[in-house]
């Protein structure tokens, strides 16, 4: 396996365990398996050893995502954190109901520098729709526990476009989140995938509020920016200097290593995704083998397209030299005339309006490249 010349500086670790599955969730999760956390951590560490050669000397960011990382047995979570490479930014995702003063201290003592708290909403009615276990007060309490433990870099996740959520409900949710003064906010529109149980239950409601939801993205951006945050990525906001360093690595097209079931790695011209099933993952690593994986060969042009697609999500321009081959010149001219794209010397970015339409603009901008799969 070929590694990037300098080695990979960003490490993702997937902790799939959850107390229950929320209705809208489509992540790789394992519900109700309270035992076996130790075996899983063993496997993670074994996978880390197998891939250590691709890692650089100094790892810059580590991100523990889930699932619910903070649902993992505290002892096993601590053991994992202790065994991972040290990094300037170590983020852990947390669900409010799992954050106790003890857990907050454990994270802090294990070198975690940043916590991403899955608040989603502050409205009990909407939390119930999402099938979240935590109530609004649990969110606030968790936030204060983290502050008390000394965390000065906390991110809140919010979801908007929840069935039954009107514009004034959204306004209240945003106000409640901002009142806590987080360093960082991630705001996603609810992705309701056709065919899911969730859409079956709420599809009609979502269709009814579709027109109102047209304006939600603007409302989110305007409200949060007015509160002094920087809209630095399509769905992310931060106090100055508080970007999510790990996610920035994705958006800047850097290499990353992912450990755990369902985790994705991108190293040089290769991307692989670990199979999402737990048993084969454990079995392979227990016998010293790499887990079952799906491989994808990324040729140069494909990575350039990705560089453009990801880079345009940020509020800073993409150097033209890095994406030149991926841009269709005619489309660039057209989009510039429409005031959606802005060209400055040697770089390319979206205008404010262009950012609201970033998906469509990017689709139009990318030159055609045949997509290749080697599965």
């Amino acid at each position: 396996m070929k590694s990037a010349p300098q080695g990979v500086r960003h490490l993702y670790v997937h902790l799939p365990f959850c107390a229950h599955r929320c209705g809208y969730c489509d992540f790789v999760t394992l519900v109700g398996k309270r035992e076996g956390h130790g075996a899983y951590v063993d496997a993670l560490l074994a996978e880390l050893e197998l891939e250590r050669e691709v890692l650089a000397e100094g790892v810059e960011t580590v991100f523990l995502g889930g699932g619910t990382p903070t649902f993992t047995e505290p002892r096993e979570l601590a053991r994992l954190l202790d065994s991972l490479p040290r990094a300037a930014e170590v983020t852990v995702e947390a669900n409010p109901e799992t954050v106790t003063p003890q857990l907050a201290s454990l994270l802090r003592e294990s070198g975690v520098t940043r916590v991403s708290l899955g608040a989603q909403s502050f409205d009990p009615r909407l939390l119930a729709v999402l099938e979240r276990r935590a109530g609004p007060d649990d969110v606030r309490r968790a936030f204060y526990h983290l502050r008390d433990a000394g965390f000065d870099n906390i991110s809140l996740d919010l979801i908007y476009g929840i069935p039954g959520q009107g514009p004034s409900d959204l306004e209240r949710d945003l106000a409640a989140a901002l009142a806590l003064g987080p360093e960082h906010l991630s705001c996603y529109e609810l992705e309701a995938k056709p065919g899911t149980r969730f859409v079956h239950a709420w599809g009609a409601e979502l269709a009814r509020q579709e027109e109102a939801m047209e304006g939600y993205f603007e409302q989110v951006v305007e409200t949060i920016v007015a509160a002094g945050y920087r809209w630095y990525e399509t769905a992310n906001f931060c106090r100055e200097g508080r970007q999510a360093g790990h996610n920035m690595a994705y958006w800047l097209g850097r290499d990353y290593l992912g450990l755990g079931i369902g985790a994705v790695s991108t190293v040089g011209e290769l991307r692989w995704r670990n199979a999402p099933k737990l048993a084969p993952y454990l079995a392979a690593l227990a016998s010293g083998l790499r887990p079952p994986r799906e491989l994808e060969q990324l040729d140069g042009p494909t990575r350039v397209v990705e560089r453009l697609m990801l880079g345009l999500r940020l509020d800073r321009p993409v150097p033209l030299a890095e994406v030149a081959g991926a841009v269709e010149p005619g489309a660039l001219d057209r989009l510039e005339r429409l005031g959606l794209v802005q060209r400055t010397v040697g770089s390319l970015g979206l205008t404010r309006r262009g950012r609201f339409l970033g998906g469509g603009v990017t689709a139009e901008l990318i030159a055609e490249t045949p997509a290749k799969d080697y599965n």
């Binding site: 993702y12 991630s186 996603y188 529109e189 992705e191 047209e214 304006g215 939600y216 993205f217 603007e218 399509t234 769905a235 996610n247 994705y250 958006w251 990353y256 992912g258 369902g262 985790a263 994705v264 991108t266 991307r271 995704r273 994808e296 494909t302 397209v305 990705e306 697609m309 990801l310 999500r313 057209r334 005339r337 429409l338 959606l340 950012r355 609201f356 339409l357 970033g358 998906g359 469509g360 603009v361 990017t362 689709a363 139009e364 990318i366 055609e368 490249t369 997509a371």
Partner: protein, 595 residues
């Protein structure tokens, strides 16, 4: 065979009056086909003909009856194919006029009967379907006898379905229809009354030999085109091709020419021997002009060469089809085609789609206009896009429309015709119950949504036919449809000033529904010159983002964008507006298929 033992005839009938069934019975009774080979509508070989129960192409089949050779030339029954009928009739000396005993004379029966009479054919009137409970053979026989000036007692009464009376029909053909005239000793001459293209053998000409005789392997010459070729095979239809060494004066048959270039042998031409042939061609057919025009475009622009080849092949089988290349900024490369009428257009389109597997966009049909410019120039305009925005005056084609309808519906037909700028010509009672209404109408009014209206207002009881009678000045305007200020050439219309607002409004509304929201506001307008008569706005999208995108999502999101990109490529670009193919289809459907 000596001339006096030959009879050439055709069958004139309204759709569904039993022409194909009678032909089937004739084939059976003359043992041309065994029972085993028999199926329904033997002569209608085209899939489309069987499905619609109509005859599109002329067919010629030879049967033997009591020592006589009878050639049945089967002709299309619909008004649009008057030209095909007239060519087939030229090859005959007589015609069976077949009328449904339950329905009586219909508008098309009249038109085709007059056509046969004009061609000097002996008419043998036949009342069919006498076995039906609701049949009224006496009344129908009286109607028919009156029409052709015949004694009602001489009108044959049959049931093609049961076979009753069919032998009398064959006897009647022999007794009443004169044998062909011609000179067996003169230099050979044959009339090409139709042709077909055989993918292996090239052009196959359907001919009626007038003078002399033709031999297989003989070198022949098409007198008008000057084309020379060898008669690779001569033969007749029975009903399949049966090769024969010679075709003689009075006979009907086919000539396999081996010609691969469809333009080198035109229907209406005269065949003669290449050496020592005749010096005078037979009188040609009159050149018919298409009356209805529409743009045909391949849905996928890569199919343009296929469409061109397909039209070329259809043209061989269909001399009345007219086409020329046309470029639309919205639809790309295509053809402006001229048709004999709406049914003809629909059939050409269906044949292109079925037989040639093409996916087509068809613009709203229009008629041919005569435009007189301020500088005194006269233009013939076949497409709204070619209509100058400034002109002195325009003339449009008018028709004499004949509608036969039960008397209770006279009022609704008159109302419809008055709405359509019609002027009353005359009215007559064909019987106590049935009325013939004659009106003069602009052809353009028939092209747009007329048949549907007529059908619904008369509960389907009306029969309708028309003749183009000339051009008259009209208060016509060109309406353009604009997207974000850019005219969409394929959607321009020429309409009467009074119809401009409702038509423009309907198109604008439909486009607003069909065009997806873009990344900017799009004005949809209908305009006469620079004056906007209807306007709607498609509001810009306010958001279009892939919500979250982290390390695990990249491949999926990239593929999403690439799919989105491919989707964009399939859109037609009008200025900066992307219009999905489906939107054009929906709008063209709104405007074209309402009949």
């Amino acid at each position: 065979m000596p001339l006096d033992r030959i009879r050439n005839f055709s069958i004139v009938a309204h759709i569904d009056h039993g022409k194909s069934t009678l032909a089937d019975r004739i084939l059976e009774l003359t043992d041309t086909l065994s029972g085993r080979e028999m199926r329904e509508q033997v002569l209608d070989s085209m899939e489309l003909e069987r499905e619609r129960g109509i005859t599109i192409k002329a067919q010629a089949v030879r049967v033997l009856w009591k020592g006589r050779q009878l050639n049945l030339i089967d002709t299309p029954g619909h008004v649009d194919f008057t030209y095909e009928v007239s060519r087939a009739l030229q090859a005959c000396e007589g015609a069976l006029l077949l009328v449904d005993a339950a329905q009586g004379i219909q508008a098309q029966t009249l038109a085709n009967a007059y056509l046969a009479i004009e061609n000097g054919l002996e008419i043998v009137p036949v009342v069919n379907k006498i076995d039906l409970p609701q049949a009224d053979p006496d009344a129908t026989a009286a109607e028919v006898a009156d029409l052709v000036g015949e004694d009602p007692a001489r009108v044959l009464r049959i049931s093609a379905k049961t076979g009753e009376g069919v032998a009398d029909v064959l006897d009647g053909i022999v007794e009443r229809i004169p044998p062909p005239e011609g000179d067996p000793g003169a230099p050979a001459r044959a009339l090409v009354f139709d042709s077909a293209y055989d993918q292996y053998r090239g052009v196959v000409a359907f001919v009626r030999v007038v003078d002399g005789s033709f031999r297989t392997r003989e070198e022949l010459r098409a007198m008008a085109a000057g084309t020379r070729f060898e008669a690779e095979e001569l033969g007749f239809f029975s009903p399949d091709r049966r090769p024969t060494p010679t075709l003689e004066a009075g006979e009907v048959g086919y000539v396999v020419t081996g010609l691969k270039d469809v333009s080198r042998l035109r229907v209406g031409d005269t065949l003669t021997a290449a050496h020592g042939g005749a010096s005078q061609p037979l009188p040609g057919y009159k050149d018919v002009k298409p009356t209805v025009f529409a743009g045909l475009y391949p849905t996928d622009s890569d199919d343009y060469p296929d469409l061109r080849d397909a039209l070329e092949k259809l043209k061989l089988n269909d001399a009345s089809l007219f086409y020329e290349p046309e470029t639309s900024q919205a639809l790309g490369f295509g053809f402006r085609c001229g048709f004999l009428g709406l049914l003809h257009m629909e059939i050409v389109r269906e044949r292109l789609e079925r037989e040639f597997d093409l996916d087509l966009l068809v613009t709203a049909p229009n008629v041919a206009y005569r435009v007189f410019t301020a500088t005194g120039q006269e233009l013939e305009v076949h497409s709204p896009a070619d209509m100058p925005r400034e002109f002195d005056r325009v003339e449009e084609p008018y028709i004499r429309a004949t509608t036969i309808v039960p008397k209770d519906y006279v009022g609704s037909v008159m109302e419809l015709n008055n709405d359509r700028r019609g002027s009353f010509d005359h009215m007559e009672y064909l019987s106590e119950e049935r009325v013939l209404l004659s009106y003069d109408l602009p052809l353009a009014e028939i092209v747009y949504d007329y048949y549907d209206q007529l059908k619904s207002r008369t509960k389907g009881y009306a029969s309708f036919d028309y003749d183009v009678i000339g051009f008259e000045e009209g208060d016509l305007v060109r309406v353009d449809i604009l997207l974000a200020g850019e005219p969409v050439d394929a959607l321009s219309l020429i309409v009467h000033r009074q119809g401009a607002l409702p038509r423009g409004r309907a198109l604008v509304d439909r486009l607003r529904e069909e065009i997806p929201r873009q990344m900017f506001d799009v004005a949809v307008q209908a305009a006469i010159g620079s004056r906007v008569i209807a306007r709607e706005t498609i509001k810009a999208r306010r958001k279009d983002v892939l919500a979250k995108c982290y390390g695990g999502d990249v491949t999926r999101k990239r593929k999403l964008l690439e799919r989105q990109k491919k989707g964009k490529k399939r859109m037609k670009q009008v200025g900066s507006v992307e219009v999905p193919q489906e939107a054009f289809l929906a709008v063209l459907k709104l405007d074209g298929d309402k009949r």
